[in-house]
Amino acid sequence: MSILVNKDSKVIVQGFTGKEGSFHAEQCMAYGTKIVGGVTPNKGGQIHLGKPVFNTVAEAVNLTGATVSMIFVPPAFVGDAVMEAAEAGIELAVIITEGAPVKDMQAAKAHATKHGMMTIGPNCPGVITADECKIGIMPGMIFKKGNVGLISKSGTLTYEGANQVCNEGFGITTAVGIGGDPIIGLSYNQILPMFEADPDTECIVMIGEIGGDLEIQAAKLIKEQITKPVVAFIAGQTAPKGKTMGHAGAIVSGSAGTAKEKMEALEAAGVKVVVSPAEIGKAVKEILSK
């Protein structure tokens, strides 16, 4: 078992024939992801990487039965692409593109919600179910199959966390990079219950960062609904106030959204909070070796 995606998930790629889309679609296929086609306007009818190209998402969905879309279109077209996927009946859109305008994402997410489509990202590494399905840009080889679920705002910390878990002799069920933009799709509070319900996931690693209050909301949810052990790290304990640290969402203003506040809330919810990402693997080992 796993969450969100597995070896049977049928995936299309929006922005299929572009440089990034092509490169990563190929990597995903090599990992085993069932990519059934892609969408690039005006290139419908062509064959790319051995798969059919369609002009519209609706056409792609009708002819391939795809339920998941991996989005690589340029930033200015992300909002449009997400809304098109939602209306075409896609169930999950994974948005990799970095730099989409916030206003576009706001409208696109509202539209996706209206059509019952889940979104992940934007500006994220994607989602991977170890040994089954990779939808995104993460290096597949570090994710060995196991019983730890992982959720992270940061891409490279997803890799760091997964790598440590695997080096300690454990592995990953599904890892989700949710992205750190001001408006994102699925977040901790939607994904944590999925891991709780997944029989294969025995421990959850949650990686957050400064800014916003998603981690505070997560702490509340963990206290009320999550019985599985959770290990957490919050990046940005040493970040100065008011500075953007790469992720647009990581702005600390006033007291809301500091690392300290988030770490305390998670600890109070019974989460094992580590002060350095270097300790994630050890913390998981301690829990799973009991």
Binding site: A76, Q106, M138, L157, P240, G242, H247, S276
Partner: protein, 393 residues
């Protein structure tokens, strides 16, 4: 991206939002000419820097004669203004805004920001204008009215009524004016991809008009491509020159005041690296994210920027290669040592894509000062130790 008050007021004027007349100047002579043109009898001389709290810091003053305008311009232009938002080092005042004095009956507060929880813009207003809004929120939260506006339906009449009644505005004529004011402000916020607009104070004049006496505006950097007029308002002199230089090479850099330079891929891992150094008793000298397209040139540039900081006693390169290939980073480090005089110990931890190849490249290069870290914890510990033992360049 933030803009100056005088620029914000130009944008307000375009949207028919009332502002006092004013002129931006960069010299004392021009300040007097501007004041003459405005006519008086009262002027406000305002420092133009990208930070709030200018009044309390002595950067906004009232003049009642042309002589006073001249004296104040002399005093404020060229001063280093320190406010609660500039940090202790302050900001150099290079521009002034000379503005008509307004007839102030009372001062209100109005802003539009993105509410990340509701995922829509939020209009925030208060009767307590002219004060630090964070203080109002803490001491008298009941005096702040918040009105989320779903862009799918836009600014409706009920939003306007919530605002007017929330501000205790009972005069029907005044209600109409404040509602129209907020409606235009919301339109501006949406059309120009603003991230934050704050008017503090928004004044009610004796005649019952509403005027934006101040204006702070920030924009979504990701949308600047489709907002060329706003993008053209960027004032690079307000930004850190090292950060601007780094950005040219796709590097995201923020200077801090510690001793260990950091070069990392990804914002989260970069922050996590700083946290780890700190936890082990060291102090990070900077945040530096080399991004996903790091190559030899960008790595070399990163070293150059880090080494400009005289406090740096060691550099920790921490890369977890996903798309970034570690062998390229290794070559970049070798390249950097050829171009730049790397005169402090460099601790390198490379993991992920092509890490074994990278290890061989670094070993064969035989660089003095280079220490290999096995993982994040080991690398950080070695960096902290190297910085502590560093004897000088």
């Amino acid at each position: 991206m933030n803009i100056h008050e005088y620029q914000a007021k130009q944008v307000f004027a375009k949207y028919d939002i009332p502002v006092p007349k004013g002129i931006m100047v960069e010299s004392v002579k021009d300040a007097v000419i501007a004041a003459e043109e405005l006519g008086g009898p009262v002027w406000v001389v305002k420092a133009q820097i990208h930070a709030g709290g200018r009044g309390l810091g002595g950067g906004v003053k009232l003049a009642k004669s042309l002589d006073e305008v001249e004296a104040l311009a002399n005093e404020i232009l060229g001063m280093t203004l320190v406010t609660h938002q500039t940090g202790p080092e302050g900001k150099l005042v290079q521009k002034l805004y000379i503005e008509d004095g307004a007839d102030i009956k009372d001062e209100l507060y109005l802003s539009v920001v993105l509410d990340r929880k509701l995922e829509m813009p939020l209009i925030m207003a208060s009767t307590e204008g002219g004060m630090n809004i964070e203080d109002v929120a803490e001491n008298t939260p009941e005096k702040i009215v918040t009105i989320p506006v779903d862009p799918a339906i836009g600014f409706q009449g009920f939003h306007g009524r919530q605002l007017a009644f929330g501000l205790n505005i009972t005069d029907k004529n005044e209600q109409k004016k404040i509602i129209s004011f907020a409606q235009k402000l919301f339109k501006l916020y949406m059309e120009l991809d603003a991230e934050m607009i704050e008017i503090n104070p928004l004044v009610r004049t004796g005649a019952g008009d509403f005027i934006a006496l101040d204006g702070k505006m920030g924009f979504d950097n990701s949308a600047l491509g489709r907002q060329p007029e706003i993008a053209a308002m960027r004032d690079l002199t307000e930004e850190d020159p090292d950060e601007v230089e780094a950005a040219k090479y796709g590097l995201s850099y923020v200077a801090l005041d510690g001793e260990i330079g950091c070069m990392v891929n990804g914002a989260g891992l970069a922050m996590g690296t700083m946290d780890t150094i700190n936890h082990m008793g060291g102090t990070p000298a900077n945040f530096l994210d080399v991004g996903g397209s790091a190559n030899a040139e960008t790595v070399a540039k990163g070293f150059e920027i880090i080494l400009k900081n005289p406090k740096v006693k060691a550099i920790f390169v921490n890369i977890f290669g996903g798309i970034v290939r570690c062998d390229r980073i290794a070559n970049g480090i070798i390249e950097a040592t050829k171009i730049t005089d790397v005169n402090v110990p460099v601790i390198v931890r490379l993991d992920g894509t092509n890490a074994p190849e990278a290890a061989v490249i670094l070993k064969n290069a035989n660089i003095a000062n280079l220490i290999v870290g096995d993982d994040l914890g080991d690398g950080a510990a070695k960096a902290v130790k190297a910085a502590a033992e560093f004897k000088g360049k």
